[in-house]
């Protein structure tokens, strides 16, 4: 018998409910407003009063309205059919809703109950299984979607029967298991899981080490992220966070992409809706949308559901990771989620931490990042969730609570610099402030030695040194004047500019330049570093910038041409000739 209650107070989307029975923290409840039911989550309990945050507008809610507690936490429904769906933060299928405007209290089924899936059994009678063991497989947009023993099952079970290969709906029983007491338990293709709990049905979580190619040179070459790694992109508005994240989501080498548009612009989500169904995934030949799920809780949608949206996205990611797939999860922007926490903490009249954020913000953020990772499943297969979040620091100041808390949790830091954005040096990732901790992992070094070359890491470090030296030299030139420094200073500065223009800067809107495979990145980096290590002769500083601009121009033409094409080779040849003019043998 579920607990009932009545509304006793309303402050914006915080409602105080007098509960006539037991309630649990984070339990879901529904407030009846005549025709509609408003979903809410318990966030504080004080005596008989449950403080609930309502995932909808509370307009018109009155004292003494009836409340029904659901007896479970906020859950997602897992099963085939998640890919290519557009959900709101509570996993309602947005495409199933009627009308142009979102209607309050309209909740839609996240999956397609009537749809038949081609099922193929993977387990057989007599097998001993446990939570997350693979019982069968269906083809979901070309992905092998494993049907697993529900994550909520505890201990070992014996398979009594698994249905034959054939077509089944998500609600059909596909297996019967026997529990320790020899009692029969039926399993379908769908199960539920509370979003705030991590799915931990795997054997171990080692340090991640496999390079995850994103096609973005300033990431892959300079500060690589790995499969199962974590990274974050802080930057002031207009620095290109979203463009960079979209580029990663289009190009990264992942099986599944989950995008949580968390409190950001609706038109940015529309861009994904519009483009992804058209764009092709180069590796599978299918449309990008087929491997993508979007959780859209845009800035004008209810604030409480914003917090839920990132957890919903992470839980879907963990579900696919348990199938042995490579998941890339992006959240734009985690600051909006933190702000949602702040609004609620404020209404609860909690004592505020820095910038009025709740005191436990750092813990909440690091718990969340910790759910990503590379895992060995119990059957020996591997799966991963690579998580990249953006952070929108207030006033572009990186010394604010969300950025600082995230810095402690994430291993890659891609700082977007206003100055680079202003001078249209995109992507505006600052090459000197940014870092990837993975470059220091011996496991990673070993991996790239094999995959790229044994000099790769030293080349990467070398280019970082050149960039830093270039920056220092530039400052000196600015202080002492063009003719106040030796000509060599100008050459040093321009060498770093070559790396900047040719390797770091990338045109996200050019069909060829937008994505660079790692072989090509290697070729170009080696090419540029040969130039940087060479000596040039100049009579006077006035000759230097014009010469290097010619070089950069030719390199850029190479970047715009297909790799190793006739055009590419032509520009490369031309470049060699220009280099011969000044290079000292």
């Amino acid at each position: 018998m579920s607990t009932k209650g009545k509304v006793k107070g309303i402050i914006a989307n915080l409602v105080i409910v007098e509960a006539y029975g037991p309630v649990s923290q984070n339990e879901i409840c529904f407030i009846s407003t005549g025709s509609t039911q408003l979903m809410a989550e318990v966030i504080k309990i004080n005596g008989q009063n449950a403080y609930v945050q309502v995932f909808e507008s509370t307009r018109g809610v009155k004292i003494d309205y009836d409340v029904d507690f659901a007896g479970h936490l906020l859950e997602v429904t897992l099963g085939p059919g998640i890919l290519s769906k557009n959900y709101d933060g509570l996993q309602n299928d947005l495409d199933k809703m009627d009308g142009v405007f979102l209607k309050r209290g309209e909740y839609t089924h996240p999956l397609d109950p009537g749809k038949k899936w081609k099922f193929k059994p993977l387990a057989k009678a007599g097998d001993v299984v446990e939570a997350a063991s693979w019982l069968g497989q269906v083809d979901e947009n070309g992905m092998p979607h494993k049907i697993m023993v529900p994550f909520t099952f505890k201990g070992n079970y014996t398979v009594k029967s698994v249905v034959e290969a054939g077509e089944y709906t998500i609600e059909d029983t596909i297996a019967v298991l026997l529990n320790a007491d020899k009692k029969e338990v039926k399993v379908t293709m769908t199960q539920k899981w509370p979003v705030k709990m991590a799915i931990t049905a795997f054997r171990e979580k080692p340090r991640p080490f496999k390079l995850l190619e994103t096609g973005v040179r300033t990431i892959d070459t300079l500060n690589p992220i790995v499969e199962g790694g974590t990274g974050f992109i802080p930057g002031p508005f207009g620095a290109g966070k979203t463009v960079l994240q979209h580029a990663i989501s289009k190009q990264a080498e992942a099986d599944i992409v989950i995008v949580a548009a968390c409190g950001e612009r609706a038109n940015e989500v529309v861009e994904i809706f519009t483009e992804f169904p058209e764009l092709e995934d180069i590796r599978t030949g299918r449309k990008l949308m087929e491997r993508t799920t979007i959780i859209a809780n845009t800035s004008n949608m209810p604030v409480a559901a914003r917090e839920a949206s990132v957890y919903t996205a992470m839980t879907l990611g963990e579900y696919y990771r348990s199938m042995g797939l490579k998941v890339l999860m992006l959240a734009d922007s985690t600051s909006r989620w933190a702000q949602a926490l702040r609004e609620m903490s404020n209404r609860l009249e909690e004592l505020p931490g820095p910038d009025a954020f709740p005191m436990d913000l750092p813990a909440i953020i690091s718990n969340f990042y910790a759910r990503a990772g590379f895992v060995y499943l119990k059957n020996g297969e591997t799966g991963s969730i690579t998580f990249i979040g953006t952070v929108s620091p207030a006033g572009g100041n990186l010394k604010e609570p969300v950025t600082e808390s995230t810095k402690k949790a994430a291993r890659c830091f891609y700082a977007l610099a206003q100055q680079r954005a202003d001078s249209k040096r995109y992507p505006a990732v600052d090459p000197i402030d940014s870092y990837s901790k993975y470059l220091e992992y011996p496991e990673f070094e070993e991996y790239v030695e094999e995959k790229i070359s044994d000099t790769w890491i030293s080349m990467v470090n070398h280019s970082k040194t050149i960039l830093l030296r270039g920056k220092e030299t530039y400052e000196q030139i600015n202080i002492l004047g063009d003719d106040g420094v030796p000509v060599g200073y100008h050459v040093t500065y321009w060498k770093s500019e070559v790396i900047d223009f040719v390797i770091l800067q990338q045109d996200a809107f050019d069909a060829i330049d937008q994505s660079t495979p790692i072989e090509r990145q290697q070729y170009m980096l080696e090419h540029v570093l040969r130039l940087c290590d060479a000596d040039f002769s100049f009579e006077s500083f006035t000759e230097v910038d014009g010469y290097f601009k010619r070089i950069i121009n030719l390199y850029k033409q190479m970047n715009y041409s297909e790799f190793n094409s006739e055009k590419f080779n032509k520009f490369e040849k031309e470049l060699q000739e220009v280099l011969q003019e000044r290079i000292v043998a």
């Binding site: 006793k8 107070g9 309303i10 105080i16 507008s57 509370t58 307009r59 018109g60 809610v61 009155k62 004292i63 947005l94 495409d95 009308g99 142009v100 405007f101 979102l102 209607k103 002031p236 508005f237 207009g238 612009r265 609706a266 038109n267 989500v269 529309v270 809706f273 859209a296 845009t298 800035s299 004008n300 604030v303 922007s333 909006r336 702040r342 609004e343 404020n346 009249e349 505020p352 910038d355 009025a356 929108s392 207030a394 006033g395 572009g396 202003d422 001078s423 249209k424 600015n478 004047g481 063009d482 006035t542 910038d545 014009g546 601009k549 010619r550 950069i552 121009n553 033409q557 715009y560």
Partner: protein, 440 residues
């Protein structure tokens, strides 16, 4: 209002602050409107039988025995074609001496558009101002503010943009508009003979500040009527959103909320997003485009209001007085239209993105040269040429008095490139160089 006769009248107010009052009442809905001593108010908090009301006109002179009646509804506006050409106050009451508008009564601040029912914006909004059309192209369904200091001519530029943009309706939401500025808009629209497609909701500096909170929702509910029901293209002008945010902070302060950055309420981002996200392109052709003004204090964009706005809107436009040419220009460095990628080179000529980027890059070179000059260093020949280019560029393209077609802007760009630079200095794709480079 026939039900009014049966409504209960409360006469015992238990608490009064500058913006709110509380009383004991039952059966009251959250967000509901009430009339307190003849002043309109709205329910902002209910705890047990204590209801707290935000009084829009301020609580001056309200006695503890004032008559309070609840209207049983949240704020509404009556929508119909008759709105066109009319001027209203923040409550939607006519202030032009005309009759009240009849039509369907709609709650303001209604629900959001389902994101999957939106269409990607793709229609160019041409303004003739090169600083906007060339560098920061506007698209229908976009939301973009002017970030300007109070002394800059943003109202003039906004009025110019509104009249040149070919939209079916223009809705002006004026918050804390000075009477002079209000009359300026009225005159400009009148002189242009455009009054019949303009609707205004105006709160002037004479009116109580808390009333402003209703203006954007009034304007946007009217906009939704024309964009959704009539499939029209609607341009909404909101000026000045800084004064709107100030009103928010007054209310939250009176309600004892813990302020976050710059004394603004912690919900500022969501409050502003609810307004700006009403900008939308519908598949049926209707659209709402929002151009707003956020005044800055001394050009500081890190203040919570412009900062939160920047994260919500699709770019921002900066005005700056260029001392080299003595005119106001649209600053190419700090201005940005995020949606321009959807139209430039697609709805406009293929060379648009390259001309735009190259010109801005060369302009940045000029800025560096200028710093060098100011620091007393010798200029190279390139520095000198980029300075000459910058002056031409400001004069012929960035100045807000420029009014030309986009193709002409692009041609001007190429002319300036070849006038001041060598081919290899511009760094544009070879195919485009072959086609558009103008030999001197």
């Amino acid at each position: 209002m026939s039900s009014k006769a049966f409504q209960k009248i409360y006469t015992k107010i238990t608490q009064i602050t500058k913006a709110t009052c509380s009383l004991k009442a039952s059966g009251i809905g959250y967000d509901e409107l009430a009339v307190v001593n003849g002043k309109l108010a709205q329910v902002v908090k209910i705890i047990g039988d204590t209801v707290t009301l935000q009084v829009f006109g301020g609580t001056e002179g309200i006695p503890t025995n004032a008559e309070v009646t609840f209207l049983g509804k949240s704020p509404t506006i009556k929508v119909s074609e008759d709105l066109a050409g009319r001027f209203f106050n923040a409550f939607g009451e006519p202030i032009d001496g005309g009759p009240a508008v009849e039509g369907e009564e709609r709650e303001i601040g209604g629900p959001s558009v389902n994101p999957v029912r939106r269409k990607q914006p793709s229609e160019l909004v041409a303004t003739g101002i090169a600083g906007i059309d060339l560098n920061n192209t506007l698209v229908s369904g976009q939301k973009i503010p002017f970030f300007a200091d109070p002394d800059q001519p943003f109202n003039q530029v906004m009025a110019m943009v509104a009249l040149r943009a070919k939209t079916d309706k223009i809705i002006l939401g004026g918050m804390g508009l000075t009477n002079d500025d209000y009359l300026f808009y009225k005159n400009v629209f009148d002189n242009a003979g455009a009054l019949d497609r303009i609707i205004s909701f105006v709160n002037t500096t004479d009116d109580p500040p808390v009333e402003r909170l209703l203006v954007p929702d009034m304007a946007l509910t009217a906009a939704e009527y024309f964009a959704v029901d009539k499939n029209e293209t609607v341009l909404v002008l909101l000026t000045d959103m800084t004064l709107f945010a100030d009103a928010l902070s007054i209310v939250s302060n009176r309600m004892d909320q813990i302020p976050s950055k710059d004394s603004m309420p912690g919900s500022l981002y969501s409050d502003l997003a609810k307004i700006y996200e009403k900008a939308v392109q519908f598949p049926s052709g209707g659209s709402i485009t929002i151009i707003a003004v956020t005044t800055l204090s001394g050009g500081d964009i890190t203040h919570a209001i412009p900062d939160n706005t920047g994260y919500i809107t699709e770019g921002q436009l900066f005005l700056r007085r260029d001392s080299d040419i003595g005119k106001v220009i649209v600053d190419p460095f700090r201005s940005l239209s995020r949606l321009k990628q959807l139209v430039i080179g697609k709805k406009t000529r293929e060379d648009h993105p390259n001309v735009m980027n190259t010109a801005v890059r060369l302009y940045a070179d000029a800025a560096n040269a200028k710093t060098k000059m100011e620091n007393g260093f010798d200029l190279t020949d390139y520095d000198q040429r980029s300075l000459d280019f910058a002056k031409d560029y400001s004069e012929k393209l960035l100045a807000i008095d420029v009014n030309i077609e986009i193709d002409q802007m692009l041609n001007t760009g190429w002319e300036l490139f070849s006038k001041h630079f060598r081919k290899e200095e511009v760094g544009i794709k070879q195919e485009l160089m072959d086609k558009y480079w103008k030999e001197n």
